[in-house]
Amino acid sequence: MSFSVVGKDIKKVDGIAKAKGVARYIGDIEFPGMLYAKILRSPHPHAKVLSVDISEAEKLDGVHAIVTPEHQPKTRYNMAGFPPNAEEFPLIEDQLILTDHPMYVGDPICAVAADTEEIAENACKLIKVEYEILPHVIFAEDAMKEDAPKLREEGNVMFEAPIKFGDIDAAFAESALIVKESYSTQKVYQATIEPTSGCVAMWDDSGKLTVYSPTQMPHLARKIIGTALDMRLGDIRLIKPHVGGGFGARLGLVIEPLTALLAKHAGRPVKLIYTREEAMAFSEHRHPCKMDMELGFTKEGRITGMRFTNIVEGGAYATHTPSIAGIVGPWAFGMYKMQAVDYLGKAVLTNSMYNGAYRGYGNPQASWAIENTMDIAAEKLGIDDLEIRKINGFGDDDIWPWSQLPVESSGLNECIDKGAESIGWHEKRGKKLGTSTKPRGIGMAVSCHVSGAKPGLLEISGAYVKINEDGTANLIIGNADIGQGSTTALAQICAEELGVKFEDIIVETDAVDTNYTLFDIGSHASRQMNSGGNVVAKAAREAKGKMLEEAAVMLDVKAGDLDAKDGIIFVKDNPTKSLTYGEVSFEAHFKPEGTQIFGTSSENPEGNPPVYAAQFAEVEVDTETGVVSVIKFVAAHDTGVVINPLNTTGQIDGGAHHGIGFALTEESVVNPETGLLENRDLANYKILTAMDMPEVVSIAVETPAKTSSHGQKSVGESGLIATAPAISNAVYNAIGVRITDLPITPDKVLAALAKK
């Protein structure tokens, strides 16, 4: 199929605004009379507030409002952005806007709105809070002990997710090899360069609330704000400005209800912007997991079954933790065929800042366990690493166990072959590479990911296409573009389906407004290309159909005889007989009894085609210092039909950056005594700089999906997932030792080498 706009390197619609510095982010939004807010947070990981005295703070010049737990609605909420069908795991609503029973260092107790941030901060210092300190527990293993402080009546394990199918004992009894290994992954930080988060809120005289929020999910964020503030949703208008990166950090609320509460009490617009330190210490990071995996194999290398337990450290509130505990297992058995599975995920409450969504959503943890295990098995069975992945992968006609929906098409084998070729697998693997003190190795790992959340979550997207009287078209979508370029790609789909030039589509990436866009569950689960693409294509087709009908009357032919391309509607058999989109739309508007032509669509997508990927790393290990350097990184992804090549490879490149950091340098360290994050700045939390990044080669393999509008799959998260195990497998290849707890730091490498 040949397309005229889809598949082209169209520049991002907001690229120039961003390049010129005129794109407005939350910190840039100002209103007359605006006040600035600061939060007074608990200095204790677990305590009871005995009293709050705001009398001195109130006297400070320039203070306009102080809110305490007394000022808030009593409805509890869960800040994670889930639609209401989240049946497979409980949506535990355990949060209040402010608390008198802080559960972590940083739990908000009070907040102040003042003329300046400095005054607000000084006022916070004048608030006197008396605490009764309660015993606390920071790590999940400790929280699961008998004598651990009980953080809630029912115990610290807030949710257990057992998933079983087949007969695991029988499967293991038949196995020629069972590989058993323990793995752990660390807490890591999304590190959006625009600190997460900020908010501007204001009320009008009729009690309506407007919230500017840099969220990944405008409609679901509005819904949770409604719950937290006990309000009618229709009275809340949420507007998403430009967003400086998401990666899961904005998958729900951060600080919106508190900003709105302050604005209500102050009677003025209020702006609350987190400092980098607050963003690091008091926003959600990725869940650390402790995993035990047993994987059985036939002597030919077929997987027989998997036993897998996983302890997920949640932090102080439920948010995403039950869902993560439930999903890590399916990520692992979604990768390979197996007849029997016995998985148990446990979601554990502790007294640290809670963890949440981060690119991959449990899949990087699952991939770490299963892809190291596959490497071990391949060696023990004497089977090539590429081969063992191929023989266990799913085929086009299989039902994908993650979703219970068809695989549709699998490009896994092609990803493996193309990646292998690019890294030089066949020339290098099995050879001694590097020098005796700086041996090199190559390794690989594969992954699967989703093109959406279906069927775990309801997945409505909505699009509205209106044809203006000059033939240009507005595409109005509630999709949250947070930099990935989804809006540009969706506009390409719109132009393709309307049969107009890309420049004739008017679309905004900022100012996504819940008052004017159709419901959409947001940008997560890599879902916009599949779910968003589906509704944009349908809305555009509807509008185009009406345009052709209008033109048919004007040209005195049948609508079925017509088509459109580049903004020209023409008779298929006689293309010189034609009208422009502008001529037809003008006639539609202004003929007697005229009407504007538009198309709409709001629905769930039909499928959820999995995205397969193969990642390859060449590493060098300095055996004197223990430092691991990635020399080259190759990522081959089955993206389905590519809508926008630059955006697609850009997602993979960025995912690799996160993944290499996850593998080697990134770790959020929480102090078990104080409960506070130790490395609260970007000097001590090491994300890779341009000097640290290796050469990255991103390859798109275009195996068309069957159910998406143009055969596309999604690519927002897949770049990260198999990165760390690919590096680990390369390290093993170089030095013959395997580090099973992330990150692979020099001290762990040296210790492992000393034991060898």
Binding site: K20, T192, E194, G654, L682, I687, M691
Partner: protein, 155 residues
């Protein structure tokens, strides 16, 4: 309290009263309303606030505004010769897909301008070093390096 500051920003002379405790970044954003320069940390770690001062790329969050007395500052808003125009560096970033969320972009582009001042035809090494103070979480720097290399080639 307030002190007088005379300096040039984007070729325009300013003579303003500033709070002596304020950084250049805060004065640009709050007093001059030049919000193109971003704040990603406020402590010299991310480079989002990069501006060019007398030909050097500098983290504007790390200098006091008062130290700018008599100096010439160029921010992202002043890079293109005229409003409504786009500078070749900005165009190259757009064309190569070097911009995703765009929050690092103003700083990254200002660092690029300093690199191209310093080196006629920068090598990849010099490019990577030149932007090593600018963190980007979206692109893996891949397309940013491509964009800068394209400028070096076209010189």
């Amino acid at each position: 309290m307030m002190k007088k500051l005379n300096f040039v920003v984007n070729n325009r002379k300013y003579s303003i009263e500033v709070d002596p405790r304020k950084t250049l970044l805060d004065v640009l954003r709050e007093d001059l309303k030049l919000t193109g320069t971003k704040k990603g940390c406020g402590s010299g770690e991310c480079g989002a606030c990069t501006v060019v001062i007398d030909g050097q790329n500098v983290n504007s969050c790390m200098v006091f505004a008062l130290d700018m007395e008599g100096k010439e500052v160029i921010t992202i808003e002043g890079l293109a010769p005229k409003s409504g125009e786009i500078h070749p560096i900005q165009q190259a970033f757009v064309d190569h897909g070097a911009i995703q969320c765009g929050f690092c972009s103003p700083g990254m582009i200002m660092s690029t301008s300093a690199i191209l001042e310093k080196h006629e035809k920068p090598t990849e090494e010099q490019i990577r070093e030149g932007i090593s103070g600018n963190l980007c979480r979206c692109t893996g720097y891949v397309k940013i390096v491509d964009a800068i290399q394209s400028l070096a080639e076209n010189k």
